[in-house]
């Protein structure tokens, strides 16, 4: 029983909302045109086609396109050892689709992560909270319009956006430079650099405390 057979069975049931099977590198992808019915399709895939293992849920931000987000479900069956990918688009205005936690329990954390990173909500999720970032964090960091260098927050006690102790030093990469040249410490001329650093430090509030993390990553 190949992935293609399973995909055809799924299309026989939901033909009007599922696209043709797309094959790339031996994997079958089906695109669902109506995100609101994802839970229903997944339920059928699990109950009738035996896709009992949800490997992963990913999210893609197609910034500039409409609909903006794509949610990708990787399904796997222990019974017939086949893989199938389902994906569906979610527009930015609504940013919501039904949860599949009722089908697979493992979807719980995957969906929380997508909400945390992309800001797409899952209707009916039992506990939709941030998971990797902290409660109250205002941004969605995996969106394409979120800069790599991060954004400051207004929460001084939980997170601070003051310069790191070595920032501006001769061997420290400048985050958020416009290109690799601007980020590369070795190409900077020291005098210019110190002027620029001073100007940047002046713009920022004075450093009063050092934060040495009790959970530093060097702990094994």
């Amino acid at each position: 029983m190949s992935s293609l057979d399973q995909a055809n069975k799924l299309r026989a049931q939901f033909g009007e909302i599922l696209s043709e099977s797309i094959e790339f590198r031996g994997e079958i992808t089906l695109k669902l045109s109506d995100a609101n019915r994802i839970a229903e399709v997944c339920e059928f895939a699990k109950k009738s086609l035996g896709f009992d293992y949800l490997v992963d849920i990913s999210s893609v931000d197609n910034y500039g396109d409409d609909p903006r987000f794509t949610i990708v479900y990787e399904l796997y069956s222990y019974g017939h050892r086949t893989h199938l990918r389902l994906k569906t688009d979610v527009g930015e205005e609504r940013s919501e689709l039904p949860t599949v936690t009722g089908v697979w329990k493992t979807a719980d954390w995957h969906e929380r992560e997508i909400y945390d990173m992309m800001g797409v909500r899952f209707g009916g999720h039992p506990d939709l909270r941030r998971i990797l970032m902290w409660e109250g964090y205002p941004h969605f960091p995996l969106r394409k319009d979120f800069p790599l260098a991060g954004k400051p927050t207004e929460m001084p006690d939980i997170a601070f956006s003051r310069p790191a102790p070595l920032e501006g030093g001769p061997f420290v990469t400048v985050p958020g430079g416009k290109d690799t040249l601007a980020r590369e410490p070795r190409v900077r001329i020291p005098e210019e650099d110190s002027l620029e650093t001073n100007a940047r430090l002046e713009r920022r509030p004075e450093i009063k405390e050092a934060h040495i993390d009790p959970n530093h990553i060097s702990r094994p």
Binding site: F24, R25, D52, V55, D56, D61, R85, I131, N215, P220
Partner: protein, 419 residues
């Protein structure tokens, strides 16, 4: 308050029912439940996992894991650099088995490029050796730390003695003990150094002695068995529902190993068995890890015996970085090097998912490419992230002291959980 008799109920589900019944009776007495913060800097959480435990006496009624203390935004970083530049970041996912992460990531990108079948045999064998060394290294730590958590200090020192030898092998192989960054897209950063095969063979013989001693210290140790048997039972259906993978899944009795089910590299040409547990408790997970290490040694010995000669990189200048000495002496290689370093290779548009059987479970990469040298989206499926999501289901009904045993037996790494 639970009585001594209640504590002696072996079955976790029955225990929590008792507690729930008792709690209803006492619900108007103030302070019958206690909330305890475990972590993020608790020694048994192996890094920075925080669990908020709700306790009734010594029995856990609710557990809420809190992850993300080690979140570094690896997926965001990956979108802003070429495929090759991301290799060092994969070292920091499961930092107890960096070689296995390197291999999994390289295979994922090669699947996107459609070149995984062109890998030279020598490269494939060396990659399998890397994966299995990483597996032994990760399981040695997993078992050692697990034993230490439940009170057997000696085992930890014992297994670390052997891990040190793996680090020495890594050092002579890659130049680094910890952050190996050994693979390249379409090959390896370097071939095996002279004499390495003999060193590795010697290690294979020595490490088995260590396994035997570790098993003597633990497998029939009364204290260890009492603390792990019938504790943290993970039934088959629950394990599948929660997407558990790796030794934890096999401990629950499901024979599923990506190396067997969907063989990559040369795993289909090697003989090895997939150990499974029967009950799915902490003790079974320990037994599965011990046997997996023995099977890894078996794979290592076959690989070292069969190791073919030849190149380790695909001879395609448009994908694989050329050798350094060629770059400095030959025009064509210089151009290839320049293009690959500045723009990256030209990946096709498309999307793939590749999962590899890593020590902790299925490490998967979902790559969405719009073409060109950088991924549009790179999602990492960290096995520890998924394995930890079962804790709210697994912990309630157990006693406080069982938490460390369960955490130790799940054997997670926060680096790949938080990414």
């Amino acid at each position: 308050m639970p009585t001594v008799q209640e504590m002696q109920i072996g079955d976790a589900a029955a225990r929590i029912q008792r507690v729930a019944a008792a709690t209803d009776e006492l619900s108007d007495i103030e302070g019958e439940k206690m909330v305890l913060n475990m972590g993020p800097s608790h020694p048994s959480t192996h890094g920075v996992l925080r669990i908020v435990l709700e306790l009734d006496g010594e029995i856990i009624t609710k557990a809420t894991p809190d992850v993300g203390y080690l979140h570094r935004g690896d997926e965001k970083i990956a979108e802003n650099m070429t495929y090759t530049q991301f290799i060092p970041y994969t070292d920091r996912l499961d930092y107890l088995a960096p070689l296995a992460n390197n291999v999994a990531y390289a295979l994922a990108v090669e699947k996107l490029m459609g070149i995984e079948k062109q890998l030279p045999p020598r490269c494939q064998y060396i990659r399998v050796i890397c994966c299995e060394l990483a597996r032994i290294s990760a399981h040695l730590l997993g078992v050692g730390a697990f034993a230490m958590d439940v009170g057997a200090m000696t085992v930890f020192l014992h297994t670390f003695y052997e891990r040190e030898k793996i680090y020495n092998l890594c050092e002579s192989l890659t130049g680094a003990r910890f952050t190996t960054s050994y693979t390249r897209i379409g090959g390896l950063s370097r071939d095996l150094p002279p004499g390495w095969v003999e060193q590795c063979r010697k290690f294979c013989d020595e490490v088995v002695v260590n396994f035997n001693e570790t098993e003597k210290l633990l497998t029939r140790n009364r204290i260890f068995v009492d603390r792990t048997k019938d504790v943290g039972v993970l039934p088959k259906d629950v394990a599948i529902d929660y997407g558990i993978t790796g030794p934890n899944l096999r401990g629950s009795g499901i024979e599923y190993d990506l190396r067997k089910a969907h063989p990559y590299l040369v795993y289909d040409q090697l003989e090895f068995d997939v150990p499974v547990g029967s009950v799915g408790d902490c003790y079974d997970r320990y037994l599965v890890r011990m046997e997996e290490m023995r099977q890894s040694v078996r794979i290592l010995k076959q690989c070292l015996k069969k190791l073919p000669d030849g190149p380790v990189n695909i001879p395609d200048g448009k994908t694989v970085l050329p050798a350094k000495n060629k770059v400095l002496t030959s025009m064509e290689e210089l151009i290839h090097q320049f293009i690959l370093v500045t723009q990256g290779m030209n990946a096709p548009a498309g999307e793939i998912y590749f999962g590899a059987e890593n020590p902790k479970g299925e490490l998967g990469f979902y790559i969405n490419s719009k073409g060109g040298g950088t991924p549009h989206r790179l999602k990492i499926r960290g096995p520890s992230f998924v394995n930890l999501s079962v804790l709210p289901r697994l912990l309630p009904g157990h006693m406080m002291s069982d938490v460390v045993a369960i955490l130790g037996s799940i054997d997670f790494v926060m680096g790949e959980c938080d990414r």
